[in-house]
Symmetry: C3
Subunit: 357 residues, 3 copies
């Protein structure tokens, strides 16, 4: 390669493109008044399901996340002396690195388990015994397992907090928290206004099968006033959109939910488009809704934002990356700060970060 | 799930149950006078076999472990700047996390190898060359390998200390140290009294095949006066209980050893019951003594304690967990502090922890 | 084992043997005047190929490496707060631990990926998306992949620096930097003298297939005046020694290159003998030049040095380890400091180490 070409190939720009979500958290910081008392509810709690949160705790979590995001280098010793056990029995790089980065940035130490077969489970050890072992070795656990029941079993024995980072097709609460945090950074007025103009959210995915979607809809049920209409788009009319429990929950919350089988007709009314195509089931994944593609030619509202939990495939085209619709990169970036906020509270270090203790 | 049920599911108690071994180290601290000189014998030594320890060094190690256990947060920078190479060529989570937790709590850094196939050994590299490489990258090595000879081969080239964390069916010295440490926390008078009432120990396992048992019996040979009778219980009369070397060693030490094939008749006289059912041989494990079960209905002495190196299976029933016989959880907890003591001495940082230098 | 024998087995000597390359960096430190400006060229640059370096930048990198090597404990917080993403999609222990040790010693944190199958790539994620993810989680990436093109793909999306730690059979630039650093510590006059006596270098390997050799020859092209003759020795006359691009490059640089098929006749004139037998191709490795062996009986010049990127097999006999020809251990040791120098510059922390800022 000619040297000038090589020079161009190896050079990079540090600056984040403007269009990657003007996600600065300042407006959200202003929109919520700090009140650490609501965070105390997280003490001595595992994080298992989106259902366990209430409105006030969520707002304080989001505010703390925004504080971290606005001052990423300030709190580098919040978690000093604390050990995270990062247990990914189901493979993951994205979520694992997100949690580990969050923890490292705050000065904590990490022990990783990335291979189920290296654990005592291979020796027939119970998950309760694994939990009792973790009690002696760390201060917090993050667990992902394709087996939906592992986290509950472990919780029974744990005396340190555990975060469910994905249990089969059931839930992935911190992803949902990160998603809602992103939406509120985009439109803080949704929680600061007395009578906010509700937004229309379009989810391209299968709530009955995708844990990220399941957890997110549960959070929407806590803020029904924000949402004008929640449209679920799935291409297979034979697939059950919701399971029974989900259906009851959205009805009880008064969410206005509609089900559709085509995407483009829904886009011109959507303020937020959330798209996902992959569901992990057992030891492999299935793709749903593969006929749907979002790209720069899609009939999106001019100020609509697109979210995706990532990893993405063909369903979310790279042609959208350099447009102002791209809030999926900001979503991933913000997730680290959201996890910092949650982890800080779980290991009882919020007093190192909050203004009023 | 109803919200109140969920609230109950996610809530946990930090407090350790009283019955998990009233294993407070204070009595052991009082029972042994600190004398760091005996710990200097560990300088420039690998930890390969239980046979390399003498009585005084062991007592000082136990005292240092007790000091760490009594003040778990005090010495958080003892190992600052030191790097541990955590090499588990044979899968393990329990022992690996025990060592890594010990090292992290004291402020050190860790590099983990958890998969033999990623190492140069796949390229035909000698273990001596691996050792020479480790000399340049870390300050201490912990190695577990189903190949019994790996640690000796590596030791020949190492200029930093290595701890044998399990070599085939041969030894697992730090487990034995942790086990004896637990026994002495339970009955410190065994080393502080001039004429202690000896205890009866019952081992359910196969000394010829189980490395934890092999290493432990060797330590008993150093304190024969503590032990009234050592009963080994194994169900298969055709299995060789001891190999020739072990038999000679226990005879020379004057240990009163009896061999039995049934468990329950032995329990009413046992002060300590040590049970293990699994022996790793090659790349898989075998279970021995599966007919034996300890549970809450077993005819244990009222103040007898039960130990198990864990992971456990059916041989140690969970019905014992909430009884005062349960010292196996305390055993696992104390193992971290014992390893802290040993690691501190090996990398020559004892002067940061001892009172008299 | 008798106790005295055991005592001898477990005892080790901390002191490095004199013959492991009197590689003290002091002479190199004196030979190069510090000039940090040339290191600024590394800001916002990925490290992809040996071709991207110029003479002045290399000398400053070597000087910084020498500074680190001469004062290994002094700069223990240069990388505090920085996170390294250590991504070894192709198995490695040696290079991975070399980078991780370098980073830990300077106070940074690390997240490791050691198994390609745990990454989103298994879900069909693009490497560009992996790069965008890394932007949010870390400050620097090290990547090794048997797929030659992965690092380029990732570079396109990265806003943090990435170091190519081996991409298929293409390049391994930091190994080459470490190799040249070793040569210059051995003969600093090669860059300090106005008219240095050139040295003869003999490479036993296959430049067209071995990435370490490819990268090293490119660096030789930057210092052609140092090299009297570069002899490449390969046993198979049908193997293409150089590919077209390599051949052009060495000719343009004016390197005097000869190709030979037998080793021993070349040794009496070689000042530096570099030997390697393994080339990773795809998911396995091939051995080249297996007929060649270097050992204590080889007709080496009395003051010749032997280099090998390691891991080694039969081609480099252990009989050379205790001779003054053994500079391959010094090469591995120095590689850690060379990587420290490079990493420090890439994450813009050189100002914490340089005298003049």
């Amino acid at each position: 390669m000619v040297k000038e070409d090589l020079e161009a190939v190896v050079r990079f720009d540090q600056t984040r493109p403007d269009v990657y979500g003007c996600a600065h958290p300042k407006n959200l910081l202003r929109a919520i008044i700090e009140d650490g008392e609501h965070l105390e509810k997280l003490t001595n709690k595992h994080i298992f399901s989106s259902d366990q949160f209430d409105r006030d705790t969520l707002l304080q979590l989001f505010r703390l996340a925004a504080k971290y995001e606005a001052n990423p280098d300030r709190f580098s010793s919040s978690l000093q002396g604390k050990i995270l056990i990062s247990a990914f029995y189901e493979p993951s790089t994205r979520t694992r690195l997100s949690f580990e980065s969050a923890w490292h940035r705050l000065g904590g130490d990490i022990m990783s388990i990335t291979d189920r077969s290296t654990t005592g489970i291979a020796k027939g050890e119970s998950l309760a015994d694994v939990g009792e072992m973790f009690n002696n070795y760390g201060d917090c656990v993050v667990l992902r397992d394709s087996n939906e029941h592992s986290v509950r079993e472990m919780m029974g024995a744990l005396r340190i907090p555990i975060i469910n980072a994905g249990n089969g097709t059931d839930e992935h609460p911190t992803q949902a928290l990160a998603d809602l945090y992103t939406i509120l950074k985009w439109r803080p007025n949704l929680i600061s206004d007395d009578n906010p103009d509700p937004i229309n959210i379009c989810i391209v995915g299968l709530p009955s099968k995708m844990r990220t979607v399941r957890s997110l809809i549960k959070l929407f049920c806590i803020f029904p006033e924000m949402i004008g209409r929640l449209t679920i788009v799935n291409d297979n009319p034979d697939e059950q959109m919701f399971d029974e429990e989900q259906r009851e929950q959205v009805e009880e919350a008064g969410l206005n939910v509609v089900l559709r089988h085509e995407l483009d007709p829904e886009l011109p009314q959507a303020d937020v488009v959330y798209i996902n195509a992959i569901a992990w089931e057992g030891d492999s994944f299935n793709a749903y809704g593969k006929v749907f593609h979002l790209n720069a030619a899609s009939p999106l509202k001019s100020d609509a934002i697109v979210l995706h939990p990532l990893a993405r495939g063909e369903e979310l085209c790279t042609s959208l990356d350099d447009t102002s619709h791209n809030w999926y990169f900001a979503q991933a970036r913000g997730a680290v700060f959201l996890r910092q906020a949650l982890l800080t509270c779980l290991v009882r270090r919020a007093e190192r970060v909050l203004d009023i203790i």
